[in-house]
């Protein structure tokens, strides 16, 4: 589904990613953990080219991204959820969800609205369709953001620390939606500090440090039997 080969990313002289190789299969849930500044968010953002890699290749669904690739086509298949939600504040919840299906997929307004309401039901917010984002709590906003990404029927979902900006009591409502999604067979790549989530739903956990993947294994193995010193240190600090 996603094949990443020898991915490098530098900002000026500062090399963030130093050669990432990764293969994600359909329906896998890959959780990426690591200290801040390790490059885990950059890795995620390279997958849909929000950050343009310095070198290396990314292949999604057998299509390798090059300069000639229509990146909007790729992005339409790759949903993304941000740490700070990034809902559009001047649009209602319904408009937030339908803007991409209507303008990218050329879906009719009626069809898009019906689908949006269905998705809102799925994330438990069907009553908020006509609200504006600033009338919702953080947890509700993030659930809308997930519905917005799902409205494009993506083949992969990327989550960039989706619960880091939330009040503690709202973390679970978002994680529950993500767990549902994982169980429905969605291919997911998720940068998070929620180790409970990683243990419960991840098919694999990657430990990233200083721009490299140090461990790539099952959650059980990583949490109970980490191989690298750095992984042990990191886990000792956060658990």
């Amino acid at each position: 589904m996603i094949v990443i080969k020898d991915l490098h990313k530098s900002y000026g002289a500062n090399e963030i990613l130093k050669g990432i190789d990764l293969h994600i299969k359909k329906s896998e849930v890959v959780v990426v953990i690591g200290p801040s500044g390790s490059g885990k968010s950059t890795l995620l953002r390279c997958v849909n080219y929000l950050d343009v890699p310095t070198s290396g290749s990314i292949t999604i669904n057998n299509e390798t991204i090059t300069r000639k690739t229509n990146i909007n086509h790729i992005r339409a298949e790759v949903g993304m959820v941000f740490q700070h939600f990034n809902l559009f504040p001047h649009m209602t919840v319904l408009e937030n969800i339908t803007i991409a299906p209507v303008n990218v997929r050329k879906m009719s307004k009626e069809e898009a609205n019906a689908k949006a309401l269905e998705l809102l039901k799925r994330v438990g917010l069907e009553s908020k369709a006509d609200s504006y984002p600033d009338q919702l709590s953080g947890g509700q906003q993030q659930r809308v953001a997930i519905a917005r990404a799902l409205a494009m029927e993506p083949q992969v979902m990327l989550f960039d620390e989706p619960t880091s900006a939330l009040d503690p009591e709202m973390v679970n409502e978002v994680l529950d939606v993500m767990k549902d999604l994982a169980h429905s067979g969605m291919t997911m790549m998720c940068v998070t500090h929620e180790m409970g989530f990683a243990k419960q739903v991840a098919s694999r956990v990657l430990f990233v440090d200083q721009g490299k993947i140090l461990e790539d294994t099952t959650p059980k193995e990583l949490f109970e039997n980490p191989k690298h010193e750095r992984t042990k240190e990191f886990l000792a600090k956060i658990l």
Binding site: L50, N72, H84, H90
Partner: protein, 229 residues
């Protein structure tokens, strides 16, 4: 001292009453030229403002040069260049109305460009990224997500620009365009009632600017309150 008192005791605002209609027609022309100039200004400013933020030098540099030249020279000189100097080059007379609209629009465009540039820059980068991550193109994201928010955020500055242009449009009176200030001059030339007429002209400008600034505050409140957009 006595001469001042004498002067004021001789003031006769009957003249204002008699010429009020004439002044008000001038005020409408002033409003009209301001509206036209700022509308063109918004159109020019939107493109120039985005060009200023472009990563292409070919767009960015001309935009900056335009903004610098217009903001760095007096509107009066710009009006003179378009009305007196340009006809010599193109060998064609330019009507005062056309010259006035062109000069004010070009002038307004530069100020509005700066307003939009800072407005667009003030929108969180995450908004742009969210749009692009959904598969929207650069221009779709700009048109539907970034610019509408920047526009709302710049309502106060756009209002100020409108008020500034309304006042500065009095400068086009020098090329004989009959807006409010020019009408005042003409009435005084016929009546010699300088104080009364200029006071009336000032009051009319003041009523217009205060009304507009109230309206802008109302718009600002409307667009910035929760749940009403």
């Amino acid at each position: 001292m006595t001469s001042i008192i004498e002067y004021f005791s001789e003031l006769d605002f009957e003249f204002v009453k008699n010429s009020l209609w004439l002044l008000l027609t001038g005020a409408i022309v002033t409003l009209e030229i301001t509206l036209v100039a700022v509308s063109f200004g918004v159109l020019i400013g939107l493109f120039v403002g985005m060009a200023e933020l472009s990563s292409y030098r070919l767009l960015r540099i001309p935009a900056k040069v335009y903004v610098d030249i217009i903001r760095g020279t007096p509107l009066l000189v710009q009006i003179f260049i378009i009305y007196f100097a340009l006809p010599n080059i193109i060998n064609m007379r330019i009507e005062p109305y056309i010259a006035a609209v062109v000069a004010c629009s070009i002038n307004s465009g530069a100020y509005v460009a700066e307003i939009f540039r800072s407005g667009i820059q003030s929108i969180d980068k995450g908004q742009f990224e969210a749009g692009r991550s959904l598969g929207l193109t650069w221009s779709q994201t700009m048109k539907m997500i970034v610019v509408p928010q920047a526009f709302r955020r710049t309502i106060p500055q756009l209002g100020n620009e409108f008020i500034a242009m309304l006042k500065d449009s009095s400068l086009v009176s020098v090329i004989g365009f009959e807006e409010l200030t020019r009408k005042g001059q003409l009435i005084i030339a016929a009546t010699y009632r300088s104080f009364e007429i200029w006071a009336a002209v000032a009051v009319i400008y003041l009523v217009m600017t205060l009304t507009i600034s109230r309206f802008v505050s109302y718009l600002e409140k409307k667009y910035n309150s929760k749940g009403h957009r």
